[in-house]
Subunit: 178 residues, 2 copies
Protein backbone atom coordinates (compact mmCIF):
# COMPACT_ATOMS: atom_id res chain seq x y z
CA UNK A 1 0.00 0.00 0.00
CA UNK A 2 2.63 2.49 1.06
CA UNK A 3 4.86 1.30 -1.76
CA UNK A 4 2.07 1.61 -4.32
CA UNK A 5 1.45 5.16 -3.20
CA UNK A 6 5.11 6.04 -3.61
CA UNK A 7 5.00 4.64 -7.14
CA UNK A 8 1.88 6.68 -7.90
CA UNK A 9 3.57 9.79 -6.50
CA UNK A 10 6.58 9.25 -8.72
CA UNK A 11 4.42 8.52 -11.75
CA UNK A 12 2.45 11.71 -11.14
CA UNK A 13 5.60 13.79 -10.71
CA UNK A 14 7.01 12.34 -13.93
CA UNK A 15 3.74 12.98 -15.78
CA UNK A 16 3.60 16.56 -14.50
CA UNK A 17 7.15 17.03 -15.76
CA UNK A 18 6.37 15.44 -19.15
CA UNK A 19 3.38 17.75 -19.56
CA UNK A 20 5.64 20.76 -19.07
CA UNK A 21 4.28 21.49 -15.59
CA UNK A 22 7.75 21.86 -14.08
CA UNK A 23 10.09 24.51 -15.43
CA UNK A 24 13.51 25.70 -14.37
CA UNK A 25 14.70 29.30 -14.54
CA UNK A 26 14.26 32.42 -12.45
CA UNK A 27 10.65 33.02 -11.60
CA UNK A 28 8.77 35.47 -9.47
CA UNK A 29 6.04 33.49 -7.87
CA UNK A 30 2.50 34.77 -7.35
CA UNK A 31 1.33 37.39 -4.88
CA UNK A 32 4.33 37.12 -2.61
CA UNK A 33 6.98 38.11 -5.17
CA UNK A 34 9.11 35.27 -3.87
CA UNK A 35 11.72 34.47 -6.48
CA UNK A 36 12.34 30.84 -7.26
CA UNK A 37 14.41 28.63 -9.57
CA UNK A 38 11.51 26.25 -10.18
CA UNK A 39 8.09 26.94 -11.58
CA UNK A 40 5.41 24.31 -10.98
CA UNK A 41 2.04 24.43 -12.71
CA UNK A 42 -0.23 21.55 -11.65
CA UNK A 43 -3.02 22.91 -13.90
CA UNK A 44 -1.47 21.13 -16.89
CA UNK A 45 -2.80 17.89 -15.35
CA UNK A 46 -6.08 18.68 -17.13
CA UNK A 47 -4.27 17.66 -20.32
CA UNK A 48 -4.08 14.10 -19.03
CA UNK A 49 -7.40 13.09 -17.44
CA UNK A 50 -5.85 9.91 -16.01
CA UNK A 51 -3.23 12.00 -14.22
CA UNK A 52 -5.91 14.31 -12.85
CA UNK A 53 -7.74 11.25 -11.52
CA UNK A 54 -4.53 9.82 -10.00
CA UNK A 55 -3.82 13.17 -8.33
CA UNK A 56 -7.25 13.20 -6.73
CA UNK A 57 -6.82 9.55 -5.63
CA UNK A 58 -3.49 10.34 -3.99
CA UNK A 59 -5.20 13.14 -2.10
CA UNK A 60 -7.93 10.72 -0.98
CA UNK A 61 -5.29 8.26 0.25
CA UNK A 62 -3.51 11.00 2.19
CA UNK A 63 -6.73 12.06 3.85
CA UNK A 64 -7.84 8.52 4.64
CA UNK A 65 -4.46 7.87 6.20
CA UNK A 66 -4.51 11.11 8.21
CA UNK A 67 -8.03 10.33 9.45
CA UNK A 68 -7.26 6.73 10.37
CA UNK A 69 -4.30 7.43 12.64
CA UNK A 70 -4.93 6.81 16.31
CA UNK A 71 -4.29 10.52 16.86
CA UNK A 72 -6.10 11.57 13.69
CA UNK A 73 -4.45 14.43 11.85
CA UNK A 74 -7.54 15.17 9.73
CA UNK A 75 -11.18 15.69 10.67
CA UNK A 76 -14.32 14.29 9.06
CA UNK A 77 -15.88 16.64 6.47
CA UNK A 78 -19.26 16.96 4.75
CA UNK A 79 -18.14 18.92 1.68
CA UNK A 80 -14.96 19.66 -0.25
CA UNK A 81 -14.21 23.28 -1.13
CA UNK A 82 -12.08 23.80 -4.23
CA UNK A 83 -10.07 27.02 -4.45
CA UNK A 84 -10.75 28.56 -7.89
CA UNK A 85 -9.49 27.95 -10.42
CA UNK A 86 -6.74 25.34 -10.03
CA UNK A 87 -8.10 23.79 -6.86
CA UNK A 88 -11.55 23.46 -8.40
CA UNK A 89 -10.27 21.13 -11.08
CA UNK A 90 -8.82 18.75 -8.51
CA UNK A 91 -11.80 19.15 -6.18
CA UNK A 92 -14.19 18.25 -9.01
CA UNK A 93 -12.22 15.08 -9.71
CA UNK A 94 -12.14 14.33 -5.97
CA UNK A 95 -15.88 14.91 -5.61
CA UNK A 96 -16.75 12.73 -8.61
CA UNK A 97 -14.55 9.89 -7.31
CA UNK A 98 -15.78 9.99 -3.72
CA UNK A 99 -19.34 11.21 -4.26
CA UNK A 100 -18.74 13.92 -1.65
CA UNK A 101 -20.54 17.19 -2.54
CA UNK A 102 -18.44 20.17 -3.58
CA UNK A 103 -18.75 23.88 -2.90
CA UNK A 104 -16.51 26.80 -3.72
CA UNK A 105 -15.91 30.24 -2.37
CA UNK A 106 -15.96 33.19 -4.76
CA UNK A 107 -13.58 35.50 -2.96
CA UNK A 108 -13.06 37.92 -5.85
CA UNK A 109 -15.81 37.20 -8.34
CA UNK A 110 -15.56 38.31 -11.95
CA UNK A 111 -18.05 40.65 -13.56
CA UNK A 112 -21.56 40.50 -12.14
CA UNK A 113 -20.85 37.62 -9.74
CA UNK A 114 -21.38 38.09 -6.01
CA UNK A 115 -18.86 37.28 -3.30
CA UNK A 116 -20.16 34.16 -1.63
CA UNK A 117 -20.43 30.39 -1.68
CA UNK A 118 -21.48 28.37 -4.70
CA UNK A 119 -23.12 25.01 -4.00
CA UNK A 120 -25.26 23.86 -1.09
CA UNK A 121 -24.30 23.21 2.52
CA UNK A 122 -25.77 23.21 6.00
CA UNK A 123 -24.78 25.58 8.79
CA UNK A 124 -21.91 24.01 10.72
CA UNK A 125 -20.86 21.63 7.94
CA UNK A 126 -17.15 20.84 7.96
CA UNK A 127 -15.36 21.66 4.70
CA UNK A 128 -12.07 20.24 3.46
CA UNK A 129 -10.24 22.86 1.39
CA UNK A 130 -8.53 21.52 -1.74
CA UNK A 131 -5.97 23.47 -3.75
CA UNK A 132 -3.45 22.53 -6.39
CA UNK A 133 -0.53 24.70 -5.34
CA UNK A 134 0.31 26.64 -2.23
CA UNK A 135 3.07 29.24 -1.87
CA UNK A 136 2.37 31.48 1.09
CA UNK A 137 -1.18 30.26 1.55
CA UNK A 138 -3.02 33.55 0.95
CA UNK A 139 -5.74 32.13 -1.35
CA UNK A 140 -6.39 29.28 1.06
CA UNK A 141 -6.65 31.68 4.00
CA UNK A 142 -9.05 33.96 2.10
CA UNK A 143 -11.13 30.93 1.16
CA UNK A 144 -11.17 29.68 4.77
CA UNK A 145 -12.28 33.12 5.98
CA UNK A 146 -15.17 33.32 3.53
CA UNK A 147 -16.28 29.76 4.36
CA UNK A 148 -16.24 30.59 8.07
CA UNK A 149 -18.17 33.84 7.49
CA UNK A 150 -20.79 31.55 5.96
CA UNK A 151 -20.97 29.29 9.04
CA UNK A 152 -18.87 26.47 7.64
CA UNK A 153 -16.16 24.86 9.73
CA UNK A 154 -12.69 24.60 8.25
CA UNK A 155 -10.08 22.45 9.96
CA UNK A 156 -8.11 20.84 7.15
CA UNK A 157 -6.51 21.82 3.88
CA UNK A 158 -4.97 19.52 1.31
CA UNK A 159 -2.80 20.73 -1.55
CA UNK A 160 -1.08 18.81 -4.32
CA UNK A 161 2.12 20.87 -4.38
CA UNK A 162 3.50 22.82 -1.43
CA UNK A 163 6.13 25.27 -2.60
CA UNK A 164 7.32 25.48 0.99
CA UNK A 165 7.36 29.22 1.25
CA UNK A 166 5.87 29.28 4.73
CA UNK A 167 2.27 28.35 3.95
CA UNK A 168 2.06 25.49 6.47
CA UNK A 169 3.17 27.75 9.31
CA UNK A 170 0.79 30.54 8.31
CA UNK A 171 -2.11 28.08 8.17
CA UNK A 172 -1.15 26.53 11.50
CA UNK A 173 -1.27 29.92 13.16
CA UNK A 174 -4.90 30.00 12.06
CA UNK A 175 -5.50 26.51 13.53
CA UNK A 176 -5.64 24.89 10.11
CA UNK A 177 -3.80 21.66 9.45
CA UNK A 178 -2.32 21.16 5.99
Amino acid sequence: MAKEQTLDNLWLAQTLFDLGGVQFGNFTVSESAVSSPVFVNPKVLISNPTALRVASKLMQQEINLAQSLRRARAHPFAVVAGVPVGGLLLATAFSLETNIPMIYARVRPEGTGKRGIEGRFNVGDAALIIDDLITRGSSVLETAELLEENSLKVKDVIVLVDREHGATERLRRRQLSA
Copy 2:
Protein backbone atom coordinates in the same frame (compact mmCIF):
# COMPACT_ATOMS: atom_id res chain seq x y z
CA MET B 1 -32.05 5.00 -26.18
CA ALA B 2 -33.97 8.14 -27.06
CA LYS B 3 -36.46 7.36 -24.30
CA GLU B 4 -33.72 6.77 -21.74
CA GLN B 5 -32.20 10.10 -22.60
CA THR B 6 -35.52 11.86 -22.10
CA LEU B 7 -35.79 10.22 -18.68
CA ASP B 8 -32.27 11.35 -17.80
CA ASN B 9 -33.10 14.88 -18.95
CA LEU B 10 -36.18 14.95 -16.75
CA TRP B 11 -34.30 13.48 -13.80
CA LEU B 12 -31.58 16.11 -14.20
CA ALA B 13 -34.13 18.95 -14.44
CA GLN B 14 -35.89 17.66 -11.32
CA THR B 15 -32.57 17.32 -9.46
CA LEU B 16 -31.53 20.84 -10.48
CA PHE B 17 -34.87 22.09 -9.16
CA ASP B 18 -34.53 20.10 -5.90
CA LEU B 19 -31.06 21.56 -5.36
CA GLY B 20 -32.52 25.08 -5.60
CA GLY B 21 -30.99 25.69 -9.03
CA VAL B 22 -34.25 27.02 -10.48
CA GLN B 23 -35.87 30.07 -8.91
CA PHE B 24 -38.88 32.16 -9.85
CA GLY B 25 -39.13 35.91 -9.41
CA ASN B 26 -37.94 38.97 -11.28
CA PHE B 27 -34.28 38.70 -12.13
CA THR B 28 -31.85 40.77 -14.10
CA VAL B 29 -29.67 38.30 -15.88
CA SER B 30 -25.91 38.71 -16.29
CA GLU B 31 -24.12 41.15 -18.55
CA SER B 32 -27.05 41.76 -20.83
CA ALA B 33 -29.43 43.20 -18.21
CA VAL B 34 -32.17 41.07 -19.71
CA SER B 35 -34.92 40.73 -17.14
CA SER B 36 -36.41 37.31 -16.61
CA PRO B 37 -38.99 35.54 -14.43
CA VAL B 38 -36.77 32.47 -14.01
CA PHE B 39 -33.28 32.19 -12.61
CA VAL B 40 -31.33 29.01 -13.42
CA ASN B 41 -28.05 28.18 -11.71
CA PRO B 42 -26.55 24.91 -13.01
CA LYS B 43 -23.53 25.37 -10.68
CA VAL B 44 -25.50 23.81 -7.81
CA LEU B 45 -25.01 20.48 -9.60
CA ILE B 46 -21.64 20.29 -7.80
CA SER B 47 -23.68 19.53 -4.67
CA ASN B 48 -24.73 16.22 -6.22
CA PRO B 49 -21.75 14.55 -7.91
CA THR B 50 -24.05 11.97 -9.55
CA ALA B 51 -26.03 14.77 -11.15
CA LEU B 52 -22.85 16.43 -12.39
CA ARG B 53 -21.83 13.12 -13.94
CA VAL B 54 -25.28 12.64 -15.54
CA ALA B 55 -25.12 16.18 -16.96
CA SER B 56 -21.78 15.46 -18.59
CA LYS B 57 -23.09 12.14 -19.94
CA LEU B 58 -26.10 13.84 -21.49
CA MET B 59 -23.73 16.26 -23.20
CA GLN B 60 -21.69 13.33 -24.52
CA GLN B 61 -24.83 11.70 -25.89
CA GLU B 62 -25.85 14.94 -27.61
CA ILE B 63 -22.45 15.28 -29.21
CA ASN B 64 -22.25 11.65 -30.26
CA LEU B 65 -25.66 11.98 -31.83
CA ALA B 66 -24.80 15.24 -33.60
CA GLN B 67 -21.57 13.70 -34.92
CA SER B 68 -23.21 10.49 -36.10
CA LEU B 69 -25.88 12.07 -38.27
CA ARG B 70 -25.41 11.56 -41.98
CA ARG B 71 -25.12 15.34 -42.24
CA ALA B 72 -23.13 15.70 -39.04
CA ARG B 73 -24.03 18.74 -36.96
CA ALA B 74 -20.86 18.52 -34.85
CA HIS B 75 -17.20 18.19 -35.80
CA PRO B 76 -14.50 15.95 -34.31
CA PHE B 77 -12.43 17.63 -31.59
CA ALA B 78 -9.10 16.98 -29.86
CA VAL B 79 -9.74 18.93 -26.66
CA VAL B 80 -12.64 20.29 -24.64
CA ALA B 81 -12.49 23.91 -23.50
CA GLY B 82 -14.47 24.71 -20.35
CA VAL B 83 -15.60 28.31 -19.88
CA PRO B 84 -14.58 29.37 -16.33
CA VAL B 85 -15.98 28.89 -13.85
CA GLY B 86 -19.29 27.10 -14.40
CA GLY B 87 -18.33 25.49 -17.69
CA LEU B 88 -15.07 24.20 -16.22
CA LEU B 89 -16.91 22.06 -13.69
CA LEU B 90 -18.88 20.31 -16.43
CA ALA B 91 -15.88 20.14 -18.75
CA THR B 92 -13.81 18.47 -16.00
CA ALA B 93 -16.52 15.84 -15.53
CA PHE B 94 -16.75 15.42 -19.31
CA SER B 95 -12.98 15.09 -19.65
CA LEU B 96 -12.69 12.53 -16.83
CA GLU B 97 -15.53 10.43 -18.31
CA THR B 98 -14.28 10.49 -21.90
CA ASN B 99 -10.54 10.75 -21.30
CA ILE B 100 -10.41 13.70 -23.70
CA PRO B 101 -7.88 16.36 -22.58
CA MET B 102 -9.18 19.68 -21.31
CA ILE B 103 -7.96 23.24 -21.71
CA TYR B 104 -9.41 26.55 -20.66
CA ALA B 105 -9.12 30.13 -21.77
CA ARG B 106 -8.36 32.77 -19.15
CA VAL B 107 -10.08 35.75 -20.75
CA ARG B 108 -10.04 37.99 -17.67
CA PRO B 109 -7.56 36.43 -15.29
CA GLU B 110 -7.57 37.28 -11.60
CA GLY B 111 -4.58 38.80 -9.83
CA THR B 112 -1.23 37.92 -11.32
CA GLY B 113 -2.60 35.49 -13.92
CA LYS B 114 -1.93 36.09 -17.59
CA ARG B 115 -4.54 36.13 -20.34
CA GLY B 116 -4.03 32.91 -22.24
CA ILE B 117 -4.71 29.20 -22.47
CA GLU B 118 -4.21 26.76 -19.62
CA GLY B 119 -3.46 23.14 -20.58
CA ARG B 120 -1.64 21.72 -23.60
CA PHE B 121 -2.69 21.60 -27.22
CA ASN B 122 -1.23 21.48 -30.71
CA VAL B 123 -1.57 24.22 -33.31
CA GLY B 124 -4.72 23.58 -35.32
CA ASP B 125 -6.37 21.32 -32.71
CA ALA B 126 -10.15 21.49 -32.77
CA ALA B 127 -11.72 22.48 -29.44
CA LEU B 128 -15.26 21.84 -28.27
CA ILE B 129 -16.40 24.67 -25.99
CA ILE B 130 -18.42 23.56 -22.96
CA ASP B 131 -20.43 25.93 -20.79
CA ASP B 132 -23.14 25.44 -18.20
CA LEU B 133 -25.42 28.35 -19.04
CA ILE B 134 -25.74 30.67 -22.00
CA THR B 135 -27.75 33.88 -22.14
CA ARG B 136 -26.51 36.10 -24.94
CA GLY B 137 -23.35 34.09 -25.52
CA SER B 138 -20.76 36.75 -24.71
CA SER B 139 -18.51 34.55 -22.54
CA VAL B 140 -18.55 31.80 -25.15
CA LEU B 141 -17.68 34.29 -27.92
CA GLU B 142 -14.80 35.75 -25.87
CA THR B 143 -13.54 32.24 -25.18
CA ALA B 144 -13.78 31.28 -28.86
CA GLU B 145 -11.84 34.42 -29.83
CA LEU B 146 -9.02 33.72 -27.40
CA LEU B 147 -8.81 30.07 -28.50
CA GLU B 148 -8.62 31.15 -32.15
CA GLU B 149 -5.95 33.76 -31.34
CA ASN B 150 -3.96 30.79 -30.02
CA SER B 151 -4.35 28.78 -33.24
CA LEU B 152 -7.09 26.48 -32.04
CA LYS B 153 -10.10 25.76 -34.22
CA VAL B 154 -13.53 26.26 -32.72
CA LYS B 155 -16.59 24.95 -34.56
CA ASP B 156 -18.92 23.66 -31.86
CA VAL B 157 -20.26 24.77 -28.52
CA ILE B 158 -22.35 22.74 -26.12
CA VAL B 159 -24.18 24.24 -23.16
CA LEU B 160 -26.35 22.60 -20.53
CA VAL B 161 -28.93 25.38 -20.28
CA ASP B 162 -29.76 27.83 -23.06
CA ARG B 163 -31.71 30.76 -21.67
CA GLU B 164 -32.81 31.51 -25.23
CA HIS B 165 -31.89 35.16 -25.21
CA GLY B 166 -30.43 35.10 -28.70
CA ALA B 167 -27.15 33.26 -28.03
CA THR B 168 -27.65 30.63 -30.74
CA GLU B 169 -28.16 33.31 -33.39
CA ARG B 170 -25.16 35.33 -32.22
CA LEU B 171 -22.96 32.23 -32.30
CA ARG B 172 -24.26 31.20 -35.71
CA ARG B 173 -23.29 34.58 -37.13
CA ARG B 174 -19.76 33.67 -36.06
CA GLN B 175 -20.03 30.24 -37.78
CA LEU B 176 -20.33 28.41 -34.49
CA SER B 177 -22.91 25.69 -34.05
CA ALA B 178 -24.49 25.30 -30.63
